[in-house]
Symmetry: C2
Subunit: 492 residues, 2 copies
């Protein structure tokens, strides 16, 4: 049986201490409504709701909010000791920042609407000055969105991106597996495509680095179809890699994680933390959902966990082969995110934006992330793919040293003297095991994709991987939550 | 606490009814030795052994047998209601056959030794007569191992296989990730390699069909490195695809599954069925292993479940990122196996072996599997990869109709009148979720491979995927079991 325990209370205080303020969570209100109507349960009493939502990230919270607004009762079961999923607050030099998902683009209307609703201000990514690019041994500075690759390479780069965009336009956003010639497209890696379509080492290197930064996977791991589908879903490759007007256009003051915390507070006490769902059983009248010995009963269940983690739940009856096969084949990307605080944004006085795109560092790319107010400076950056794997098991001190060394190589020795540092090794977190999302390998989307969104009896799927647009983004998680809530509401 | 229950007893009778005769299994003897020394356990008493083995397939049973022979106490926890893993008995026309792994090659010395030990006779695959090949619209018959592709295609086929074998020889059996140029090799699918190295449609088609039959995955799904490693591990591509002298050389009278049943009987009562392991925790003095509420305590644990199923156990502390990442990226292949019984082996009178290799059927390839004694005939064959996905969710009747239709197209209308039929949809079994093994996609083995065999504290890995030779075969499972037992015994 679920009960707010002393441990949960302690964690709530801890959360308040770092400024999240989710509020009291637990099952206090639900206990009043609980009744032991579920067959075969071994709990003394079973909480019963219309819809059980698995996961308190943006997808799950959005779905629960929408269902409740439509008059349905919900419970949101979260494995972790916090809400937000792949968004998470962290504290650095007195500021609260996003340790996970962070940026928002102008086309991401659901996320922007949510920020407006909760009165959280949006401010632009700092882009005044020169970016630095260092690819295939050629280092240069440039303004704006197009990396300075040298005139020849730049022309080829434009051509290659153009080819990719043209292919992406042929991939249906909702059903990438219905793209013309899909088998041949999905039978190759991005690396194979790059080798066949780019000749200069600078363009090949740029493409590999961009793919790795977008997918948190190497070009040699990820399917061409998966990357095309990602671009199609996000409005194009240029939109994905761009700052101004693109997916890295802006951020939320105090962090995007706040929106999840606010939704959870609204849903309180229907959000249950530290309730990792272990089993889901369906029968003719509803679903039973277990987190260890605790059990909930609902008419429907929405699983918002990413496929590779949803695979770790025991389903009764067993899932169809295609769905199980899909969940065996959608690994999370590999990523570590680091924030660095400095006494001042010293790169700005050198006319630099702080942004560096290099193929000769372990860490990177990184971006200016100085606080909106105050005089301090901040950078935020990533280890992705191969680098994330290499550095995930190293000591925090070793990682920090590498980050500072890499940054100093481009922004100067002042980079070696941070006033604070914070990081999140997403590849090693128990309940995410990677990020940002899943970029499957060849042969997966074309063959197993049809199982991605298809409900299985009373079981519906949500989460950014299932989004009808902006899959892989917070925006996609929100949209998937809305969508699954509509699907289920139609059946209630 | 674990107890032999009425349900278990009922299942034991059922097993005896189909002739497995594993004998009484349970914890009856262990209960005497149980003591509640484990910290934090919520069971009244906890069974304590030297080594907890997870999985009662050939790897787990071999490991347990070796450990016990060395004087150590063991318990083998099996999720399913039977032993044998990806081997399994089935009854057809009064004969007991293998619904899973079946063949044995002359180089598979551990499996052959086990058959000798238990007095199970080995008999050769029937190969007298003509095989039929039908690729790229060209149908022909041939004797022996080399498919009749037509003279031009045949020369190219030999060249392509030669190239592949040469590459495979450069892939170290134990450490494929150390092959020269490994990143480039692992950045492409088999399909990409086939397109680059074979020109004729017959050779391309032959390669695709052979890869699919070996890996239970399409050439467009599986990495070139994974296929090279598989060949390297099995003694070469030719050895893998050959009957006489190759991996399909012979079978065991009554089925290879018997060896698992015999090992389990020897280990009785240390084999616990229907005990799906849900969590494994390590501490300084040992390991705790839970199957739901039942708990076992050991000094070490050997997990023999295939990586994609081992991923579904909760580990405390959480596994290293590289190991978890690997388990997210080693999906099981997709396969359905079917046996058909006929009043007589009518193809033999037409001078045919019964073996058909065709790219224009859903089912196939299939082989003669007539009983050693008696006048009846038998065929055995597979749906693999794409076909297995397509047919896994269809009705048994629809599958059977398709199988008979496909067979009749090559062996004649007598094929439409079987006297019995039996099948196993491995892609849909709860505790295997596919077969024969895992053939990972690009970028997996090269990057995550080093975590495949590496113990994590007191946790060791076995299973055919980890074998130092014959990975993917029963032989590999046995070798991995022996190997893990030695690893652990050195620490006891």
């Amino acid at each position: 049986m679920s009960d707010p325990t002393g441990r949960e209370a302690a964690q709530m205080s801890r959360r308040s201490a770092i400024g999240i303020g989710v509020g009291a969570v637990g099952l206090s209100a639900m206990r009043g409504a609980a009744h032991a109507e579920a067959p075969g349960g071994d709990s003394a009493s079973v909480a019963s709701v219309d819809v059980v939502v698995v996961g308190a990230g943006f997808a799950g919270l959005t779905a629960a909010r929408a269902l409740r607004a439509a008059g349905h009762s919900v419970v949101v079961l979260e494995a972790d000791d916090r809400v937000g999923g792949r968004t998470k607050p962290g504290s650095i030099a007195g500021e609260t920042v996003d340790l996970g998902g962070q940026w928002v683009g102008p086309a991401q209307d659901r996320l922007l609407a949510l920020a407006r609703e909760y009165g959280v201000a949006v401010y632009p990514q700092f882009t005044s000055g020169n970016n630095i690019v260092d690819l295939a041994g050629h280092r240069a500075t440039y303004e704006g969105e197009t990396p300075a690759l040298g005139p020849m390479a730049l022309a080829e780069f434009a051509l290659v991106i153009g080819k990719f965009e043209a292919l992406a336009r042929q991939v249906p956003v909702l059903r990438p597996w219905e793209a013309p010639g899909v088998e041949a497209i999905d039978a190759q890696t991005m690396e194979t495509w790059i080798l066949a379509n780019a000749r200069s080492s600078a363009v090949r290197s740029a493409m590999r680095l961009l793919i790795r930064t977008l997918a948190c996977a190497e070009a040699g791991e990820v399917s061409l179809l998966a990357m095309l589908a990602m671009a199609s879903s996000a409005g194009g490759f240029n939109e994905m890699v761009s700052t101004r007007g693109g997916a890295q256009d802006a951020m939320l003051e105090g962090g995007v994680w706040q929106l999840a915390a606010r939704m959870a507070r609204e849903l309180d006490p229907a959000v249950v933390l530290e309730a990792p769902v272990t089993a889901i059983a369906q029968d003719e009248t509803g679903v039973s959902v277990w987190a260890g010995r605790r059990k909930w009963r609902g008419k429907y269940v929405i699983v918002t966990a990413p496929p590779s983690l949803a695979a770790r739940i025991a389903y009764r009856p067993a899932l169809p082969a295609l769905r199980d096969g899909l969940m065996q084949r959608m690994p999370m990307g590999c990523v570590i995110k680091a924030h660095i605080a400095y006494a001042r944004p010293f790169w700005r006085t050198q006319g630099l934006t702080g942004m560096v795109l290099s193929d000769s560092t372990e860490f990177g790319p990184w971006f200016d992330h100085s606080p909106v107010r105050g005089a301090t400076g901040g950078l935020v950056g990533l280890f992705t793919g191969k680098s994330a794997r290499r550095w995930a098991e190293r000591s925090p001190q070793a990682r920090r040293d590498q980050v500072l060394k890499d940054v100093a190589a481009y922004l100067g020795d002042e980079a070696l003297k941070p006033i604070d540092y914070i990081e999140e090794v997403w590849a090693a977190t128990t309940w995410q095991r990677g990020g940002y999302s899943s970029a499957p390998g060849p042969g997966v989307l074309s063959a197993f994709g049809p199982a991605l969104r298809e409900p299985v009896g009373r079981l519906h799927w949500a989460g950014t991987e299932t989004a009808e647009a902006f899959s892989g983004y917070i925006e996609g998680a929100i949209r998937s939550g809305e969508n699954s809530a509509q699907e289920v509401a139609r059946r209630l």
